[in-house]
Symmetry: C2
Subunit: 338 residues, 2 copies
DNA sequence: TTGAAAGCGCTACCAA
DNA sequence: TTGGTAGCGCTTTCAA
């Protein structure tokens, strides 16, 4: 199974040149005679030689690799986030590797060790169990940017939308549509979710409606939570006429719970989701949602990160991108084209 | 941003011991006096030293890391597959890192380079654009196992279910339920999908039904394909009474298309999905599906991989695990508990 | 139980 | 345009 473990020495010997020259060829140095270059390349080809990056990276003290740290890689928003990060990275010659922590402290530490142990040059964090203090400690010593799902820190850069305003906008829209009894299915396990709740409360207050705690439920971003918590809401004396869900998957659960109870969407109850992921389209009716500029969030995150990696001095920035509301059948009666 | 770049030398100096001793402490060698050990550990703590793994791995010619190569990390089956791989890896002291190729040849080559460049010790491939020949070339030289979504090769190990039999079982079940006009929404972009189609054909043949090409549609595993291709099926003169979908997401699209056309599921048309992912539950009715033992597939895959990494000689195995059919509302009228 | 030192594969400096 | 070589940080053998 072990490959032949060829080294730059083997190539040099075979090509009758020095290792320095081989190294130059590998790294596309311009100061190699064309004839020499092609000879070396030919030997590399024949031998099937691949340079050992451990040696290279050790010598250069740089890996051109970054790590994406996140509880789950299968989050619906992850695809576009990753594409944004990866495209930006590619542009600068960096590779992105990823690993899910599944919210395990141990796993998280193990991955952060990859940063400390010089296996990657920088870290992008999209949600973690790390405390703001821990994030700050890391941020002070290493290159680190938080993206989308973040915690308040002094020493890390952050790229995200304005979650509070997003919550505010969602609720304001529902209020404008005539709703007075608006529920929310949120989560306590996420900074962003809590901010969206603040937005909810502000919008309610501003409209002169009274805040009713029983209209706010907390779950964990899953379809099942959407299903169950909606059922809970339906048990209330004074039922909501609109429900704001923390993401689209929850919103699909919400819509399905309503339908199972014979409640018409959007006529009797309107539903708003979040993220504009493909799940928002997997329901009948489709889900009105707040869209995050996921690709751009990712792209800008890498740009901030490479800034930090290249700079000596510290330079922490917060970048806020615009969200927007996408209207679909779960809040408005739209003609369905078939 | 740069951390202080402490080395084992710094620790040695500060602790008044040799680097060899520090190394022994780091690696939990038993031949260090307890007093020495604690002194060294204290210095490590004070300084905040983390060993540079590039140096270590270069020296050891081993990284204790493997790479998971797959077109998309957000595939619904990926979560359990990854957990299985990761748990097995953890058990052996290995880390798993992942990267999506998004079916880009270039990205794929870049990631495979990580293997060739000694950045990881082994590779797990869950779907790729690599030809059997390319896979064989890699398999001959490096440690490589295919999992779940695979191609026929001589020189790689494979862990998967028997996809042909799975297709056969799904269709046989529908035939036993009385269906005679059975459609399939498959895909041409996947070996497993093609095998399931073979199973479909065999079951049809065995039951003495005639194979009707117009009942077989090809898409790309997406919700939209489920939606559109089902619409196509409904345009047929002689409509199907059952539809077998290549995965659960497609099946949800299928069910929704049927509902939008006023067709009752399962009374008028029955639907079967594949994979038993969470999407199968996100539909009304829930989707009858073929479950793969995803976690175990992942677990066994790593076990095969570590075998190869530890062995000198070649040792290619095919492991086939059992699938099973899960009955839900899309094929049977089940009392829905509320 | 500890230390000295060679060397993993590579890059990049200096000299030619 | 090329070669010689020091040294990146670490482990591990050998000797003490």
């Amino acid at each position: 199974m072990e490959s032949k473990n060829l080294t730059i020495q083997d190539v040099a010997k075979r090509a009758n040149v020095s290792v320095a020259t081989v190294s130059r060829v590998i790294n596309n140095s311009s100061l190699v005679r064309e004839a020499t270059r092609s000879k070396v390349l030919e030997v590399i080809e024949t031998l099937g030689y691949s340079p050992n990056f451990l040696g290279r990276d050790l010598r250069r003290d740089q890996t051109m690799r970054i790590l994406l740290l996140t509880p789950s890689l299968i989050w619906p928003i992850m695809l576009d986030l990753f594409r944004g990060i990866d495209d930006a990275a590619q542009r600068h010659g960096y590779s992105v590797i990823a690993a899910p922590t599944t919210n395990s402290k141990k796993k998280e530490q193990e991955l952060i060790a990859m940063l400390k142990n010089r296996f990657v040059d920088g870290l992008i964090v999209i949600g973690s169990t790390l405390s703001p203090q821990e994030l700050d400690d890391l941020g002070k010593q290493y290159s680190l940017v938080q993206c989308s799902e973040w915690k308040e820190t002094k020493y890390t850069s952050i790229v995200s939308i304005d979650d509070k305003k997003a919550g505010y906008d969602a609720i304001s829209y529902l209020i404008k549509s005539g709703h007075k009894r608006i529920a929310m299915i949120g989560s306590k396990n996420s900074g962003s979710a809590l901010l969206r709740l603040q937005g909810y409360q502000e919008a309610i207050a501003k409209a002169g409606l009274k805040f009713d705690e029983s209209l706010v439920k907390f779950g964990d971003f899953t379809y099942e939570d959407g299903l169950c918590l909606t059922k809970d809401l339906l048990k209330l004396e004074d039922k909501p006429t609109a429900i704001f869900c923390i993401n689209d998957v929850v919103a699909v659960g919400c819509v399905n719970a309503l339908k199972k109870n014979g409640i018409r969407v959007p006529d009797e109850v309107a539903v708003v989701g979040f993220d504009d992921t493909k799940e928002a389209l997997m329901s009948i009716p489709e889900i009105t949602t707040i869209a995050q500029p996921k690709y751009e969030l990712g792209y800008r995150t890498f740009e901030l990160l490479i800034n930090q990696m290249n700079q000596e001095g510290s330079n922490y920035q917060n970048i806020t991108l615009e969200h927007n509301l996408i209207l679909r059948g779960s809040t408005v009666n739209i003609d369905i084209k078939e």
